[in-house]
Every structure is written in structure tokens, then in C-alpha cells.
């Protein structure tokens, strides 16, 4: 068993100390359940007006959605690696991977902004129809989470560069990473529901 696995396995028997801390996991549960409830209402509304929802969904660009999903998943991979490298004591690599995570997060925001600008150009706003009310609110709230996540990661990046965290003391980094992965999880909910399924 590696030292990383040894440290992590101790958390298995401790309900109050999940990886990243209990508060972030309570937040993750609340956020995920909130988005799931909203999407269940979305599915119910779609069942009542399937034709309008299908027409509206056809106005979205699934290619942009797919590219953005791959960008966000890749950023999640680099963040997971950043934490792993830090646990292994490889600080420089951890700093580098955190920076890549931030850059990919910015790419996600850029693609989403492009998608939003296209919708606005065509006059598709929040009050266009029920589908787009859900679209703007759900993706908008997710984008706010991504923006907050990037701010947290920038703080972690500079703290890592200053050597504030090491292989033994890095719970803040794990917490920030958990928040970033939560953005992944929420997008995993939104992408199929808004772009793929009708």
C-alpha cells in the first residue's frame, strides 16, 4: 500500500472526515440535489409540452456542449492529478497542473460566453419560452459556480507557489479540488438533460 493510499484509507472509518472535509461534502450534496430537483421539474415540464421543448433544444449547439464537456472533464483530470502530485510531495508538478486546470476553466467560460452571445444575437433570452428559462437559469448558475471555482483555484495556485501546502498539510487544496469537481458533476447533470435528451 502506498503512503497516499495509507493516508486515504484512514478516512474510510471516519464519517466526519470525508476527503476535502465534511462541510464541502454537505455543500456538494445540497448543490447536486438542488440541480436534480430543478432538472426533474424540467423533465416534467417537457413531458407536458414535448414539441416546444424539442424545437427549442434543436436551437442549441450539441457540438459546443460536447466540446465544453470534454474541456471541463479534462480540467477535472488535471485537478485530480494536482492533488495526487501534492500528496506525493511533487510540489512543482502540482503547481503546473493547477495552472492547467485554471486555464481549461477559462476556456470553458469562453466557449459558454460564445454560446450565450449567439443566443442573445438571435433574441433568445430568459423569457423566450419555458425551455430557455430553464436553460439560462441552470447554465447561468453553473457558470457562476465555475467562476467561483476559478477564483478558489487561483488562490490555491498562488498559495502552492508560496509553499504554503505540502504532502502532509493540504486539506485546503483537497477542499478546493472537491468544489471544482462539483462543477464537473453539475455539468454532467445539465449536459445530457439540456443538450441530448428529448
Amino acid at each position: 500500500m502506498s503512503s497516499e493510499q495509507h493516508v486515504l484509507s484512514r478516512e474510510k472509518n471516519d464519517i466526519l472526515h470525508p476527503p476535502g472535509g465534511i462541510l464541502i461534502w454537505i455543500l456538494i450534496f445540497l448543490e447536486v440535489i438542488t440541480f436534480m430537483i430543478a432538472l426533474s421539474v424540467f423533465a416534467y415540464m417537457r413531458s407536458r409540452n414535448a414539441a416546444m421543448f424539442a424545437e427549442s433544444q434543436a436551437m442549441l449547439n450539441p457540438l459546443l456542449g460536447t466540446v465544453n464537456t470534454i474541456v471541463l472533464l479534462s480540467s477535472g483530470y488535471f485537478m485530480a492529478e494536482a492533488v495526487r502530485k501534492l500528496r506525493a510531495g511533487l510540489l512543482k508538478l502540482s503547481v503546473r497542473y493547477t495552472l492547467v486546470t485554471i486555464l481549461l476553466g477559462l476556456v470553458f467560460i469562453a466557449i459558454k460566453s460564445f454560446e450565450y452571445s449567439q443566443k442573445i444575437e438571435h433574441g433568445i433570452g430568459l423569457e423566450y419560452n419555458t425551455f430557455f428559462t430553464f436553460y439560462w437559469l441552470l447554465t447561468g448558475f453553473h457558470l457562476i459556480h465555475v467562476s467561483v471555482g476559478i477564483v478558489i483555484l487561483v488562490f490555491i495556485y498562488f498559495s502552492l507557489r508560496k509553499g504554503r501546502y505540502d504532502a502532509r498539510d493540504h486539506e485546503d487544496v483537497e477542499t478546493g479540488a472537491a468544489f471544482w469537481h462539483m462543477c464537473d458533476l453539475i455539468w454532467m447533470l445539465l449536459f445530457p438533460m439540456l443538450y441530448l435528451i428529448n
Binding site: 486515504l8 461534502w25 432538472l39 423533465a43 450539441p62 460536447t66 483530470y77 495526487r84 479540488a177 454532467m188
Partner: protein, 77 residues
């Protein structure tokens, strides 16, 4: 057990498969939702370290995700 890189490859593969299947037919809704659930589990268990957490956290997330997938699949029937 997965490592981060294998997990990432599976996530990309499932994303592309989901996009492709949904373009083929609406009949693949259940499969798209199962792929969603698998991606959710890879991120939470592999990237977020849920596999090292107390069973309470693991069972809770399993119940929430499987409940949501069931609601979406059965509401479409």
C-alpha cells in the same frame, strides 16, 4: 482499480458515446442516462476520493444518483 488517466479516457469515451447515441434515436435515453451515471461515479469515486470515504457518503451519493436516473427514465416512458 482505475487511475486518473484511465478514468479521464473513460469519461471522454462515455461523453462521445452519449452524444452519438442521442443523435441516432430518442430510444437511447436510458443508455444516455446510464452513461451519465457512470461518469458521475467516475468523477466522485476516482477524482474526489469518494472510494476512500465512509460508507455513509458512498451510499448517499449512490442513492441520489440512481434515484435521479430512475426518475428521468421512468418519466419518459
Amino acid at each position: 482499480m482505475l487511475n486518473n488517466k484511465t478514468g479521464w479516457l473513460l469519461l471522454i469515451l462515455f461523453t462521445l458515446a452519449g452524444s452519438w447515441l442521442s443523435g441516432l434515436s430518442h430510444a437511447f435515453l436510458a443508455l444516455v442516462m446510464i452513461l451519465f451515471a457512470l461518469k458521475f461515479f467516475i468523477i466522485s469515486y476516482q477524482y474526489m476520493g469518494l472510494r476512500f470515504a465512509h460508507p455513509f457518503w458512498r451510499y448517499s451519493i449512490n442513492i441520489v444518483v440512481l434515484g435521479f436516473v430512475s426518475v428521468i427514465i421512468f418519466s419518459s416512458l
